[in-house]
Symmetry: none
Subunit: 198 residues, 4 copies
Amino acid sequence: MKKEFKKDQILGAASAIFSQKGFHQAKMDEIAVLAKVAKGTLYYNFSSKSKLFAATVTQGLNKIMTQIKEELESDLPFMAHLKGLISCIVRLYISHSEVSRIYANEMSSSIDDQVLVEIKEVRKEFIQFIEDILKTGEEKGYLKPLPHHLSAMAVVGMVDTLCANHLDHPAGSPVEQIIDTIFTILSTGLVADNSFNA
Amino acid sequence: MKKEFKKDQILGAASAIFSQKGFHQAKMDEIAVLAKVAKGTLYYNFSSKSKLFAATVTQGLNKIMTQIKEELESDLPFMAHLKGLISCIVRLYISHSEVSRIYANEMSSSIDDQVLVEIKEVRKEFIQFIEDILKTGEEKGYLKPLPHHLSAMAVVGMVDTLCANHLDHPAGSPVEQIIDTIFTILSTGLVADNSFNA
Amino acid sequence: MKKEFKKDQILGAASAIFSQKGFHQAKMDEIAVLAKVAKGTLYYNFSSKSKLFAATVTQGLNKIMTQIKEELESDLPFMAHLKGLISCIVRLYISHSEVSRIYANEMSSSIDDQVLVEIKEVRKEFIQFIEDILKTGEEKGYLKPLPHHLSAMAVVGMVDTLCANHLDHPAGSPVEQIIDTIFTILSTGLVADNSFNA
Amino acid sequence: MKKEFKKDQILGAASAIFSQKGFHQAKMDEIAVLAKVAKGTLYYNFSSKSKLFAATVTQGLNKIMTQIKEELESDLPFMAHLKGLISCIVRLYISHSEVSRIYANEMSSSIDDQVLVEIKEVRKEFIQFIEDILKTGEEKGYLKPLPHHLSAMAVVGMVDTLCANHLDHPAGSPVEQIIDTIFTILSTGLVADNSFNA
DNA sequence: TATGAATGAGATTTCATTCAT
DNA sequence: CATGAATGAAATCTCATTCAT
């Protein structure tokens, strides 16, 4: 119990520092100080900086996915459900800015191959999660038959970019507008109705 | 002339290494070796690693934007024009994998604030470039009136994610399918026509 | 009794690990695991790594000396006695490879001066033990009058090197040949009889 | 030229420190200070501490072997030649105390396997060198037919132990006595002539 | 008596940057 | 203009030791 407490303390600090400075500029010393443990304790609990990073991302994304699942257990009409999903993802993405910043920024090849694989695994799970929702929608006849994997990534890509931008410029577009824009694109596209004759 | 030649040689090498390994794992030694110049020459031409990085990204994105502009100077009907735009961006993104990998991966806060600003500037230009196209489309009545900046970012986000994935798994979905999916989403959305009554 | 049992368990594990990896690469964690006790228990029984090391070596060499003494309590003719001694040392040295490896390898200055002194003390005792045997042999007229201390060290040096080599390459020369070679050198030297006129 | 100078400077300092403190207690900082170069320069010239250690030992033993070869290019009668050899080895061993201390103390398994192999290689060369001399002596009928490899190691073992002891206690037996003892053992053995009837 | 999570000093190593040539 | 040997600050990680339980 005590041990898990320390681990959480460390993950919290790591999450804060990694999201603020990125993987490479985050220093283990710094994380230790913020977590109020000795540097050795970091290594006692996570065998390397990379592993700590992986654990941070994994824990964060899992939390988000769990929350999304909880919020979506509803019986709304599909369109409302879709809007709910988008709204939910965007809001969680923004409120868990720590994780999402990391997630958006550090998919680079800069980290141990070993660990990168681990992180990509979690990202894959997240995309799969979206993909499953889209698939269900299609099976029920609510969605067009498109390659699920690609549409799922498209959704994630849109959300990623718009939310990352919002986190960078919080004073920019309000969250509601972001959600609306994504919802509109996903439901009817960008194109005006009369254009299809052009 | 000789001088510009060396600079290009360096930028070429830097582009290759940065895209392959990311900013932090790219070593100046390595770049020097690949560029076939001495390490000192790197510093003679670019005052720091960060500046070299910024120059690499800037040059790359500018090349891409120039090419897009060239390819789009046509008088096709709008829908064809839109599809052309998407197709063009996707193909360039993939063929300039060196730049786009960097672009997708290193927007993080891991680099000098100074330089990060510089890079984000170029990215902003790119988004602005898309935004202008969307704006024109709207003014001509082809596109729905949405917040341009947000839709532009949504477009870029989709392209980013799908192309990055394609570069990671070239054997996955074919480029044509990627283009189609993006085009379909942007033109009509994901939702099946009959769903709007649900 | 229970206590002594634990101590022995620890000394056994320590002996195995130290001989396998040497003082510095042996980790206390490792020894604890092999001894099936908690790390704290190591420190409860031996105040430091160095002390544990010293205890390991001391116990080992004492065991060997005791065995040699037991095996040599005989009334054979001197030459047989000498051969017996050599044979006995070599065989024990090889069968107690754990101790002898340590003994041969870690006489370096790398360990606490304090502890090094302690270990050298045991080694001195061992050499003294050989020296006493040689002295007796001389007094009885069996051996040439040579500086005992030096000849004792010469004997130990030969045995050390040849046995260490045998432990490294068990498939090399058979033990019998090693014993014979040492015995021949010690009894008649390397030089052929007719060479003394040369 | 400048570069080789720095390398020599480093090897000199490394030799001094390693022989004084052993591999593990020697700190790279210390060596850098003594060599009057920056720590980075150590790593610029030798890729790791282990490699520096290996280079130090190799260079030292090679110097010794070269000197022995030079000193032995004579046409003395065999017995004089043998005594010359022993005398030469002992004196060089003692005068190059830096190398020989390292050589005697750090054959342990404490260092990278990789590097240990390298060092053992040089030691093997040294033993081979002695072996060749013994072999020639036997072929010319001066020496008894014994397993060369074993006798060579026996010689080296004796020298090792006696010289190491002399370096530890310089006030003990004088060098001449050490040489005489080894020579006597090698030429006629320890055993008194009349013992063979016992 | 025994435990093992926590510690933190200190070691090796890296690499962007400089500057004499 | 170009070079590359030299630098040294700073980062990650190790592990003997401690101490509350």
